[in-house]
């Protein structure tokens, strides 16, 4: 029976000390479980930040490599493992944007009909909606996008998300509300244009 990955497991994965060959193996094993547990949340975060699948894979790998490299700097007294990890993820995402190398999928040029011609109608509709949402997210300012991207991570509370964004919880909530309204407006405008 598979045991549930807990916060204590995450702390153990980050605070192991390598003293020999055997402990390095068990340390890697624990970190593997850490990657397995958090990868979906990291990918979800990067997708909501507006990265393509390929970029998300590159950034997510860098995030976990950094987490491995700097795991000794993690202090369980200061932050939850998820808060620490998503601070790394947020910094990696911002760094990717600022490096101007973020290759965004040119959604306007994606031939959805051609790509999904063999898919059932409902699946096609879902795919179109997903692409429209990704495009709308990319139109939001970076801070707003960060707020939305962090909000949907189950392991994070609003206070955790606020600490990652280095703002007060109330500020985070205001930013989130503003971002969601903007996103809805962008999507509504798109629907009106399509009608």
């Amino acid at each position: 029976m598979e045991s549930k990955f807990t916060s204590a497991d995450a702390v153990a994965a980050l605070s192991t000390d390598i003293t020999g060959e055997d402990s390095q193996d068990s340390s890697a094993q624990r970190f593997g479980a850490f990657v397995e547990h958090y990868q979906h949340a990291v990918f979800g975060f990067l997708g909501r930040m507006g990265f393509s699948q390929a970029d998300s894979e590159d950034i997510a790998q860098e995030v976990f490599l950094k987490a491995w490299r700097y795991r000794r700097s993690y202090n369980p007294q200061k932050a939850q493992p998820s808060t620490w990890l998503f601070t790394i993820a947020r910094n990696a995402a911002i760094s990717k944007f600022s490096s101007k190398r973020a290759v965004e999928v040119p959604l306007d040029t994606v031939d959805i009909a051609a790509e999904t011609q063999h898919q059932p109608e409902r699946q096609l509709q879902n795919e179109q909606t997903r692409l429209a949402l990704a495009k709308a997210l990319r139109q939001l300012p970076l801070d707003d996008r960060c707020a939305i991207a962090l909000f949907y991570i189950d392991d994070l509370s609003s206070a955790d998300a606020a600490s990652i964004l280095q703002c007060k919880t109330a500020t985070f909530k205001t930013r989130l509300s503003r971002a969601r309204n903007k996103l809805k407006l962008i999507l509504d405008d798109r629907d009106e244009m399509n009608d």
């Binding site: 890697a28 979800g44 909501r48 998300s56 509370s157």
Partner: protein, 89 residues
């Protein structure tokens, strides 16, 4: 924060727009092991460089110490050479 998915937009955002590939953990752990290999070979290289430096620097250090001792002896001999005629009067 699971009680926040109130509408279809929430559901879509929570669902995520990109997915982690099945072999993602494997890829990350492979890169970590590569990184660990590089680190350990770097440590070994540093250690062997220090070892080589110590080995190579042993002879020059010995030569330097001998030269310093001889130089010191010459200075003492010079002072002594002046002192003897001076005291002899």
């Amino acid at each position: 924060m699971t009680d926040k998915y109130t509408d279809s937009l929430d559901v879509m955002l929570a669902d995520g727009l990109v997915k982690s590939p099945d072999d993602f953990t494997k890829k990350v752990m492979h890169r970590i092991s590569e990184h660990a290999d590089i680190e350990s070979s770097r440590r070994l290289t540093t250690r062997s460089l220090i070892g080589d430096y110590l080995k190579n620097s042993l002879w020059p250090a010995a030569a330097l110490a001998t030269s310093a001792a001889l130089g010191g002896f010459q200075v003492i001999a010079f002072i002594f050479g002046i002192w003897i005629p001076a005291t002899a009067g």
